[in-house]
Symmetry: C2
Subunit: 454 residues, 2 copies
């Protein structure tokens, strides 16, 4: 009995000490993140010197070189590049002029959609028909659409509290609209930009042509100009648009994921991945989407090394290439992990911007979810309170097949679509403290997951 | 027994219906707030047409006129102005030139502190001594300080997760620094701006001279220029500063609180106040501090009227004058309420900016706090999760003496001090959805408090 009491007391003391240590370590992670400007400076470099780093572009290659060096500077035990097949799509000249006998002339703010085919060099001229969804398109049919430019103009539902839900409710116009319109003989597509903002930034993003459709040029128009075009059409249905967009799809090429790791001190053959994506749309600096996610992953390495945190598992900071167009970076990373028989216990992605931090979303079994939620008490004093079911990210999703728990870092997304895929996604819209708080939250959660059993 | 069962069932049904209604009403409040631009447009007007509306200024009077009309437009049952005594302090010419035999010359970005006395018209020239707190000042003593400009340069503690705590840890340099320095014979004070940001915006704010001290001129310097001045001083302690700041304190004058109400349908003699402050620093548009709070209070009136919500108590939207300098608007409002024997059950202030919404802080008895916390379930699906002890606001604090529960609306404050009291506090830094979410949260909480017993 005495022995049992002694053992129990020892257990309680050790657990108490460990809890004390854990609290101290998390505090030191936050202190380090909140008082260091490396991640912010790295983000500035990415934004200002590798702007428009869409996969296959020279800017993307420059970003790869920079991020590799940044990982080395952070003190990673090893840093390497992982070859990734990527598409190569290059924007051309762009112009969209409306001519109306009633309203006059107006050049609209447009941007070609990624993977779109181009117009002829001199452009094309056509009447325009406005629709809001594919049912309306179907009802109009070939007799009304043939030879025209289809203008998809369904706005975000502003009543949706979750901005990503609003995006989800509108984005099929961009991804599938050109294919759908082509089925009825449309010659081109203009899509209202995917944002709640009323401004003059057009937002690009990928479109995907279905098999067996005639590929027609597709562009996004700013929301203000979408409203104007809609207004003009109401009183002049016969106005015409002259559209020039000489973008080109080249053969696939190669790029890289950039990977840095800290070797596990206890279970080096178990892996935890923390990542973001390198590529950003060619018109954007890619600060919120997703330079922030990249520099936060590097920051974890820097913080652990600076504080002497030796993880039990191998921790990888992975900067994925080509999230925006076809996700080959994430797929390649998971395929290689599978081929090598790696054990991946968790993967975290930061690709929801770097606004005010909220917490995490989890894609995990109930048992793991319970464990993850138990960590929330460590974050209360840092105002990180969301530990919710449902999360992940497109680059890490292929790791689910390997049994990894998927985690999405969450920040407040009310204004995310002000920036997303547009020239408005600039470094200036990122606040250093919001970035730092996110880095600290991510590094702390990974520290907790890495401790002991998970 | 049958009767008891029947009554119980009826009770459960009615309660169920009420809960259903409550959910629907809150949903309709959010829907209305998220799809209407009135509050945002009102904020734009305030920022762009009544910029620099510090109490006693012509811009403040213009804001009073505008807000009164905005309340009428919102449909308030009655709108009136409440006379408030206010100081009248007017900024003059400002210049701060450092001359160093080692480093050369540099004009620093400065701004006079509110209520500061001015320098002579031609300015004053003096050596500078850098200190970080009042102990250091005391240790240096008159022999080292006499005749010099004291440069307070203690930065925010970036390790503080709560930005207001970081502010609280630094702001005595601004409020009391000039008085303290004067005690040792300083001729003027330069204070590092109250922000974590490293930029070139100087941040003003009120300073308060103690009785019986010689009032000396006081200015804030931008953080980047504070760092530069500190750097220069390290290698040239004998550099001099020529300071011009010809601000003037005039005799007190009069201004107004702007008040609009919806009459209570059941208990018209019980009041719930929702407010923000009209005045903004003379160098600022006052978007986050505190135009947002004003337009959110008006928005509550507009939403209730639009949706036909008839509150049980009388709900007042109060826009207070002169929060920034001496809080006479809040004091006058509470004094008048006391004189009239009004019953004030709750007061909510939105004066922490209009960034990403988080929730509320409460200054209430444990019993009331429990009731307030029970409301949190209504807000979960809107991502409004903070229902914490501790809150209020300086304008509503005098209502505590009348027994009112005090409530502070909270949004994420990581970047609040990027704007606070500076020319960087502009309309462009407010996101419409973050403003709208706040309006909806406030209007919903007041709706819940107003229902039945509280």
């Amino acid at each position: 009995m005495r022995r049992l009491i002694a053992v129990t007391i020892l257990f309680l003391i050790l657990n108490g000490l460990k809890a004390q240590d854990t609290g101290k370590i998390i505090r030191s992670i936050f202190d380090e993140a909140l008082t260091d400007r490396t991640a912010y400076n790295n983000l500035e470099y990415l934004c200002k010197n590798t702007k428009g780093r869409i996969a296959g572009s020279p800017a993307a290659e420059k970003a790869v070189v920079f991020l590799k060096q940044a990982l080395l500077n952070a003190g990673a035990d090893s840093v390497w590049l992982q070859k990734v097949p990527v598409p190569k799509w290059v924007r051309g000249k762009e112009k969209c002029r409306v001519t109306s006998s009633v309203h006059g002339r107006k050049d609209l703010a447009i941007t070609a959609l990624g993977l779109s085919v181009g117009t002829p060099e001199k452009g094309l001229t056509s009447k325009v028909i406005e629709v809001h969804d594919f049912d309306e398109l179907k009802a109009l049919g070939t007799q009304n659409i043939q030879g025209k430019i289809v203008f998809f103009n369904r706005p975000f539902d502003n009543k949706a509290v979750n901005s990503f839900a609003a995006y989800g409710g509108a984005v099929n116009q961009r991804t599938a609209g050109p294919s759908e319109a082509s089925k009825y003989g449309a010659v081109a597509v203009i899509v209202r930009s995917m944002t709640q903002s009323l401004d003059n930034f057009p937002h690009t993003g990928v479109t995907r042509y279905a098999d067996n459709v005639n590929k027609i040029p597709a562009v996004a128009v700013s929301t203000l100009d979408a409203d104007l075009l809609s207004q003009w059409l109401k009183t002049d249905a016969s106005l015409s648009v002259h559209l020039v967009s000489t973008c080109v799809n080249y053969p696939d090429t190669w790029s890289y994921n950039v990977i840095g790791e800290i070797y596990g001190s206890v279970k080096p053959n178990e892996f935890i991945t923390v990542g973001g994506h390198i590529d950003a749309w060619d018109i954007a600096e890619g600060a919120n989407d997703d330079g922030g996610g990249c520099v936060q992953a590097i920051e974890l390495i820097r913080i652990y090394k600076k504080l002497g945190i030796k993880p039990e598992r191998t921790i990888r900071a992975v900067m994925f290439m080509n999230e925006e167009i076809s996700g080959t970076g994430g797929k390649t990373y998971a395929e290689e992990a599978k081929r090598k028989g790696e054990i991946h216990i968790a993967a975290l992605e930061s690709d929801g911007g770097v606004m005010a931090p909220r917490g995490f979303g989890f894609d995990a079994t109930d048992q793991k979810l319970e464990k993850l939620r138990s960590f929330s008490s460590w974050f209360e004093s840092y105002d990180i309170k969301d530990f919710d079911k449902g999360g992940g990210g497109s680059d890490i999703s292929p790791l689910k097949g390997l049994g990894a728990v998927l985690i999405g870092y969450k920040c407040d997304a009310q204004k995310y679509f002000w920036y997303h895929h547009s020239a408005n996604d600039t470094f200036e819209h990122v606040n250093i403290r919001e970035l730092q708080m996110g880095s600290a939250a991510i590094a702390s959660l990974i520290y907790l997951i890495d401790q002991g059993d998970f």
